[in-house]
Chain length 153, copies 2
DNA sequence: ATTTCTGCAAATGCTTTGCATTGCA
DNA sequence: TGCAATGCAAAGCATTTGCAGAAAT
């Protein structure tokens, strides 16, 4: 068991207050923030921090496997300090991203499944992402007048 | 059984050569092109076509449910004329997107699963996307020297 | 004739890059 | 001290928007 600082140093990555702060924001939230959201949370305590630093930091944290990147399709990248594969659901109304903890990922990560995919497609599989789309309870109330159009996520 | 033209007219959407051409490109390919790729395919036959028209057309086709949009995380939106839910795999090496037809989507679309998600999260589910990530057979050969870094998709 | 669409150019929004300065090791 | 990271501003892309002219109904 090592601290994040030790992990970074072991990889010859310098420990800076900005990096620790970005990771702390991700660790404390379940809202799967994008870079802009992380930046706004940090601004009061780190008035000089820049968006570029936040971008570079999330890239680094992703590269070393401490966080995962989500592509829900809202035009920005969102980040999750829980790097374990798990399903997410995106609200088409307000953009909220929520974890789905009870969905079993077993079949999706199973070696046999990956081998079957390799047999069908020739790809060597290394990761999975599962996204559900819908309306959160709040947006469901507001948008109730039926949506007849086919779902566009 | 109606033609695409009839479907559009029934929705009071005008039938134009550009729209038919964009749909024809998607219908003929399995490469899940983005707007730029569709535009380049059309340019020789439709020298005056604009990217904006392609963007507007794919939005329209998605809205009426004739195509689906994919977010594999390559910084562009990709489109598939097969609007039925099915899994996709993205090559981290060359960006190729391939269908996975043999993967059973049953559990992902099952009413009970969606109700369980609603019970856990409060969301009313309306769609799913499943993306696998890996290396295609071609890139696997080239990139063979092991990749030790954690997977970043 | 009316309404909608096209194509162009400008604008927007997210992300990346180059570089001088700063700060960790 | 030496190398890497920060912060700033500019640049880069993908996508959207406004609008005048063109085309579909």
């Amino acid at each position: 068991m090592q601290t994040i600082e030790e992990l970074l140093r072991s990889k010859k990555i310098k420990v800076t207050p900005q990096r620790m702060a970005v990771y702390a924001v991700l660790k404390q939230t379940k809202e799967h923030p994008n870079v802009e959201m992380i930046y706004k949370k940090l601004k009061p305590d780190y008035p000089a921090i820049s968006l570029a630093t936040v971008y570079k930091t999330v890239d680094m944290l992703k590269r070393i496997g401490l966080i995962q990147e989500l592509n829900v399709g809202d035009g920005s990248l969102r980040f999750d300090a829980n790097a374990q594969p798990h399903a997410h659901i995106y609200c088409k109304g307000c953009g909220k991203v929520t974890d789905i903890d009870n969905f079993s990922f077993a079949q999706l990560q199973n070696q046999q499944t990956w081998e079957d995919i390799a047999a069908e497609t020739g790809f060597q599989v290394s990761a999975v992402q599962l996204y559900f789309y819908g309306l959160c309870s709040h947006c469901r109330r507001k948008n109730s007048p039926a949506d007849t159009a086919p779902d566009t996520q």
